[in-house]
């Protein structure tokens, strides 16, 4: 039945099928076929034998990953960083969006909005250069200021505890503009008459923001949080790699699943264990998205992602 339908449909819409074919093939080859490589997580990989010729070794790779403690450490780091970054960057974006919308001076509004979005356009490599030129021991901006006032320079690269703060700051620095654009769009969607009516009724500006602006951006905020929660086990590799680099002293404090995987992929011939880490990440991520989405759907259909 279905086959007949497809054949008929294909004849009828040959051109449409042809138009979608390139993207279909690209996604099939570049995204779906590599998924077969996930079997590596259960194999003792040998390059000469390839992915499918290598021997199976059950769950030995997973056992090794978690027995060594690395699995737990990178999972914990990934989740904590994502939570920290989620809260700080969304909060800051909401505040900035509300403030920008209240600004009456058009030039000030335009210039600040442009400047705040600028970091989104900069590659993480350049952000890495920023971090280095601000925090490095010999010539960094901060240490330059400290020594010029007679203080002792701080060795940031030997102080793991400060890096969550630095990473969080640069994450917000890069994304606040982008996220605030989204919230500004939501605020602009408010009917102007509601605000006018509130003003006539004697509501002050704080009351207006609290009971009109904030409720109106709630759906957007929830969507943004859901999207981020769905990625809670995915570290932003480009950010971590450029900000921290291959700095062994900082691994305990800054290693996330993605940086661990990359480093192992490059340096460690034992790809099975690394594959186990990504397998675990992909599967768990998928499970989290499905669970969160169905819970949200259950509570309020409108907020579900799909």
């Amino acid at each position: 039945m279905r086959k007949e339908g497809l054949g008929h449909e294909f004849k009828k819409n040959k051109a449409l099928f042809a138009m979608i074919l390139p993207a279909f093939l690209l996604v099939l080859i570049m995204q779906y076929l590599p998924m077969s490589g996930m079997v590596l997580a259960f194999k003792a990989y040998r390059y000469d034998r390839g992915v499918f010729g290598s021997d199976w070794n059950g769950i030995a790779n997973f056992r090794y990953l978690f027995a060594s403690g690395t699995g737990w450490l990178i999972t914990r780091n990934t989740i904590l960083y994502n939570l920290l970054n989620l809260i700080t960057s969304q909060l800051l974006a909401v505040v900035i969006a509300i403030f920008i919308c209240e600004i009456n001076n058009m030039i000030f509004k335009k210039v600040t909005q442009t400047v705040i979005l600028l970091p989104y356009f900069i590659s993480w490599v350049v952000v890495g250069v920023f971090v280095y030129s601000i925090f490095n021991y010999e010539t960094g901006l901060i240490n330059g200021m400290i020594t010029s006032t007679g203080g002792e320079p701080i060795n940031f690269y030997g102080w793991p505890g400060i890096w969550p703060v630095i990473i969080c700051c640069f994450n917000s620095w890069k994304w606040t503009g982008y996220n605030s654009v989204i919230y500004i769009a939501a605020i602009m969607g408010i009917d102007g008459e509601i605000n006018e009516a509130a003003e006539i009724d004697g509501a002050n500006i704080f009351q207006r923001i609290w009971s009109i602006t904030i409720p109106s951006i709630r759906p957007t905020l929830i969507t943004m949080i859901l999207l981020q929660v769905g990625r809670i086990l995915r570290g932003d590799f480009e950010m971590f790699y450029q900000i921290v680099g291959n700095n062994g002293q900082l691994y305990n404090a800054t290693d996330v699943i993605d940086t661990y995987v990359f480093r192992s992929l490059i340096t460690n011939p034992d790809i099975g264990v690394t594959a186990a880490a990504t397998f675990y990440q992909s599967v768990l991520c998928f499970a989290i998205i499905m669970i969160v989405n169905s819970v949200v759907k259950h509570i309020d259909e409108d907020y579900a992602l799909f």
Partner: protein
């Protein structure tokens, strides 16, 4: 709103003071690294070694730029690679995205939902870095190939959803009318749909181009040959390797220890970032439009 200027209550005054201060502070924070970068690149090496980087050049010098432009081959080549990758990738990406968005928007196309799901699923689940890397290298032979820079970023579901929004604003009656006039599907797409998608193409094209221009990750994973490096990855390599700096020194005919490496690193970053910062104000509105549309769940 001039009406508000008449009389501001105390609470409003307090609010506006906080509001303007916070926004201005945020803008300054966003700018500081750029100022540091430019200032550092124009500071003499001597000064940086003694005092560190600073927000104003303590001792003005164009030494770093002189060295870069003395032997610009390396940068010109990296620029060339980046431009090539960006142009090819953006062009093909636009073609694929617009065709696909058009097809899945066609209500009379029976399998549109099946295809939509096929694409959307990749945002929920993927093979992860290891299987992808091994697959690309062993089975697709992408090691050290420019294709490794172009193909992975060519098609993106997020852009597809944005483009679909643009496509769905075109009335279906237009397609019907063209069909009655005897136009084939390809003709309808290229002569009627594409011209109406101009702002959508501009928006997605800019997103694609920015992605390609700023990409260093694929270059790091897949490229071995230094002459193939795109701009951002070359910049990264220079930040990392004193070796790369040494080769610049020898090309410029000076000794390594005389090389102004601290300012040179920043000058390189300026040269690599300059075009984006200069172009950005002119294309900002397209990005804002794209981000706004993308945030409205498709």
């Amino acid at each position: 709103m001039p009406a508000r200027k008449i009389k501001l209550s105390t609470s409003s005054k307090v609010f506006y003071v906080i509001c303007y201060t916070v926004v201005a502070l945020m803008a300054i924070i966003c700018l500081i690294p750029f100022i540091l970068l430019i200032s550092g690149s124009f500071t003499s090496e001597q000064f940086i070694r003694f005092h560190g980087y600073s927000l104003l050049p303590g001792e003005f010098s164009t030494e770093a730029y002189k060295i870069i432009f003395k032997t610009p081959q390396r940068i010109i080549r990296a620029y060339g690679v980046s431009i090539m990758i960006t142009v090819i990738g953006t062009f093909l990406g636009l073609l694929l995205t617009s065709m696909t968005a058009y097809v899945i928007s066609r209500k009379d196309f029976k399998y549109r939902n099946w295809f939509s799901f096929f694409f959307y699923f990749t945002t929920l689940f993927n093979g992860g870095m290891v299987s992808t890397y091994i697959f690309y290298i062993q089975y697709l032979n992408l090691k050290d190939s420019y294709l490794a820079l172009i193909l992975p970023m060519m098609f993106n579901v997020f852009y597809l959803l944005i483009m679909r929004t643009f496509v769905s604003s075109i009335p279906h009656a237009l397609i019907e009318a063209a069909k009655i006039d005897g136009a084939g599907e390809w003709r309808i797409f290229f002569t009627i749909i594409l011209p109406l998608l101009k702002s959508g193409l501009a928006t997605i094209g800019l997103f694609l181009a920015l992605g390609y221009w700023n990409d260093w990750y694929n270059a790091m994973l897949y490229l071995n040959t230094e002459t193939k490096y795109p701009l951002q990855y070359m910049l990264y390599a220079i930040q990392q390797q004193t070796q790369a700096l040494a080769s610049i020194a020898s090309q410029a005919g000076i000794q390594v220890q005389n090389l102004p490496s601290s300012s040179l690193k920043l000058a390189m970053a300026v040269v690599a970032t300059g075009p984006i910062v200069i172009v950005y104000p002119f294309v900002q509105k397209y990005f804002v439009a794209g981000i706004t549309i993308g945030s409205v769940k498709g």
